[in-house]
Every structure is written in structure tokens, then in C-alpha cells.
Symmetry: C2
Subunit: 246 residues, 2 copies
């Protein structure tokens, strides 16, 4: 048996997130089932992130063990033939035993889409938050830039989180508009539970006048969840990339 790292892409709409759980189908479970069908072995799979229910992934990395007799390329084909159409394995590479998809990661990039048209867009329905009133992307960008730096992100974390150290460094946070589509990109050395979705909710509340930038800055320095915005819906969020080298 050798350790391999799989790259996945998935549409999270139908899944209760990555991690196996008792109530609801998860990506991890579906993948483990497919691996068992292909290899005959129930191998466990370790993911790079515990994406939430409904969150999508463009590059999700996970490790598992593979019997030596399976060439990685054939394994990818066989897995894809046994996976539903909303989960795809795009690569399989051998990795060292000390490689861990979560702990070896040095940076992650998330993208959040907002459909900012007067009416909904049926093709972006599952992949964006619809915000009807015209948003000012320059102003949003200014708010986004507040998050760049090293802060205790306690205010931008679900109360369900059990993580102790909530200090994270954000390297990039910006907003781009392409027609009616607004794309928020954020890169950091790590993210807390619901962190990106609360940051997006906060940026939107600054635009709608419910929060001021000063309050956002207070949230970053005080760690008070009350100073931050609501959690935006999962459907707009994509785990875009995970980086393992600086």
C-alpha cells in the first residue's frame, strides 16, 4: 500500500459537506464508497478541509492508501466511473507518508460569488448568493482590504467552533465585478469555521449600511462576534485552491 493524494472537484449542493456524519450523505462517504468498489478495500480518506454543507470545491485534496497494483491514472478513471456526476477526481499522485492534506497546507484560497442582477440567474442559482440591489464593488473592495493582516478572527467564527487559537493571517481579500457577477477572493494561512461566509456577510452589511467599517475594524481587534455580520449562504462559496509550498 502506498499513500496517494487525490484532487477532487465537487458541486456541494447535494452533500452535507465533506466529513462523514450520521445524518446525510457527505463527499467523503461517497468517495470512500467508490474507492471500496474499485479496490475492494474500505480505506479511509483524509481531507484538506471540512467544507460545510452546500459548499463547493474546485481543488480539494485528500489522501488515502492505494494497493501497489493500481497505477494512479487507472485509479482515477475507475473512481470517476463509480462516482456521481457532481464529484470528479481530477488527479492522483503518490505522496510521502508525512504529507497531510490539512496540516501540510500553507495557504488556502476561497472564492465567494454574488449574483448582483435585478433578477435571479438560473445558471448561477446554485453557485452564488443573489443580491438584487446594485452593489458598489469599489466600496466592497475597501471593506475587504480591512481583513488583510494577522488578527484574532474570533468575531468571524461560528460559535460552534472548538478551535482554541483563532489567530489567522489573511494575505489577500478583494472584490471584482464581471457584469452582474461579483467575485470575492480571499487567501490566508487558515480559516475558522464559517469564517469566509461571515466575512462576506459583514462586507454586505457595510454596503447596506447595517455596519460601519469602524465596527468591522473593532470586530477584528475585539474578537466580538456581535460586531460582525451574519453568515452568508453556503452555496456561493468555493474552496478554490490549497497551497502546499510557499
Amino acid at each position: 500500500m502506498a499513500q496517494v493524494c487525490l484532487t477532487l472537484q465537487y458541486d456541494g449542493t447535494q452533500y452535507h459537506g465533506w466529513q462523514v456524519q450520521p445524518n446525510g450523505v457527505t463527499v467523503q462517504q461517497v468517495l470512500q464508497d467508490a474507492i471500496q468498489t474499485v479496490t475492494g478495500i474500505r480505506a479511509s480518506v483524509t481531507g484538506c478541509s471540512r467544507t460545510d454543507s452546500g459548499v463547493h470545491a474546485r481543488h480539494f485534496y485528500c489522501t488515502t492508501v492505494l494497493p501497489e497494483r493500481f497505477p494512479p491514472e487507472q485509479f482515477v478513471k475507475a473512481l470517476n466511473a463509480n462516482l456521481p456526476r457532481d464529484i470528479v477526481v481530477s488527479a492522483c499522485v503518490p505522496v510521502e507518508e508525512d504529507f497531510h492534506p490539512r496540516y501540510s497546507a500553507v495557504k488556502k484560497r476561497y472564492v465567494y460569488y454574488i449574483w448582483n442582477g435585478a433578477v435571479r440567474n438560473p445558471f448561477w442559482e446554485k453557485y452564488s448568493l443573489h443580491h438584487r440591489n446594485k452593489l458598489d464593488e469599489k466600496s466592497m473592495n475597501e471593506t475587504a482590504s480591512l481583513f488583510v493582516g494577522t488578527y484574532d478572527f474570533s468575531a468571524f467564527c461560528s460559535s460552534a467552533s472548538e478551535v482554541q487559537d483563532k489567530v489567522r493571517t489573511i494575505y489577500r481579500a478583494d472584490v471584482l465585478r464581471d457584469g452582474d457577477l461579483i467575485c470575492f477572493t480571499i487567501e490566508g494561512n487558515g480559516f475558522l469555521y464559517n469564517m469566509v461566509r461571515i466575512i462576506v456577510g459583514t462586507i454586505l452589511e457595510v454596503e447596506t449600511g447595517k455596519l460601519s467599517r469602524q465596527t468591522v475594524y473593532q470586530a477584528l481587534t475585539s474578537g466580538n462576534r456581535q460586531h460582525a455580520g451574519l453568515t452568508s449562504p453556503a452555496c456561493g462559496l468555493f474552496l478554490d485552491e490549497v497551497f502546499y509550498t510557499h
Copy 2:
């Protein structure tokens, strides 16, 4: 009552095409139901095209009658509140009584997407044909250009068609690549049943060596369906725009 023209966008995946039919839910039926809920009247709706089962639309025009008391803008909002998430009304404008969404059209544009990656893309799964082997878009473009002009398109028409005159003029037919996504765009004064899907199937068969460009040209001049390629799947096809003025 005044005649209005509605602009729709829809994800056709779940529908048996536009036109009401006994076996299966259609976009027309769902729209007529929503109109009845909003106005209390069972008004019929006339569409610009009979899109097939599974085909999508970015700009689909249809006419209906609206009681004078409904301002178009409110009608749009009320309709959208009563439509499923895969059908959206993006506009409603009053039109002259002699306006007909199908017969008044002078040009239509269709777009067909091919996902040309080694593995499937879960986000394009419902909106493209997956073609695994690398395609040469320049060569495809050359084949596409054969279709520009006025021809009897009998060879590029489903045998189920009951249309007599099969002469159509194609103004534009080209292929563009954006990464792994190939986009085929075609504009013409009219299209026969399955015409775009058979043209796409034909272009692909030239790429895979099953057909030569000479055979394609023969199909255009002979009208022999045997000289053309297979019908490509509906999911990759979008009715992109309908033009009412030159």
C-alpha cells in the same frame, strides 16, 4: 388586456422542452401556471422557439396577454416569486398586436458548449458535452465555416421534422476555446429541428476522422442525412439570443 413580451432565462435540465405536451413538465406549462396564479387567468403563451427537452435558454421571448391593471414591472416580480428557481423572467414589455415572438424573429443565435478536459467538470456537467480527447479548435473552426451561407439543411434536420422548406441562411458559425471549454456559436435566420445539435455532431465527427470536410460539403449540397454526423446531446445547447430587427 394588452399583449406583452416576456424575456425568460431557463435551465432546461428538468424540462421536456418548451412546448406543452402530455408526457412531462415543460417550461411553457410551468410559466402558464405561474401566470394563472398571479393574474387568476389561464392565458396562453406563445414562444419564440420550440426548444427541445434539456436545452437551455439565456434569452427566450414569449408573448401573452396581461390585464391592464398589472404594471409590467410588478408582473415580473410576481411571476418570479411563483416560478421555480430554474426559470426566471427578466423582462416584460408591451408589444404591438402584430408582434409574434417566432414569426417576427429575423435572426437567432445558439451557443453549444463542449467541456474538453481530460476529466469531467462537475460545474459544467449539465451545460456541456464532455469530450475527453483534446480537440483542435482551429480545425473545428474551419469545419464550422462550411456552414455559413444559404443551403437546404435537410441533411442537418431530424427526420421527425414536418417543415417543408428547409432552406436556411447561416450568418456566423465559429468555435472559440477558453481553457478546457470550447464554445460553438451559430447565428442564422432560422433553424430546423435538431439542426444545431447535428451540426455540432458533424463538426466533432470531422475531428475524430469519421467524416471528411468534403462529405460535410456534400451533405450541405445533397441534403442527404447520411452524410452528416450524429445529434449531439441537448445539455450543451443554449438558445442565446433572438433578434427582431436587422
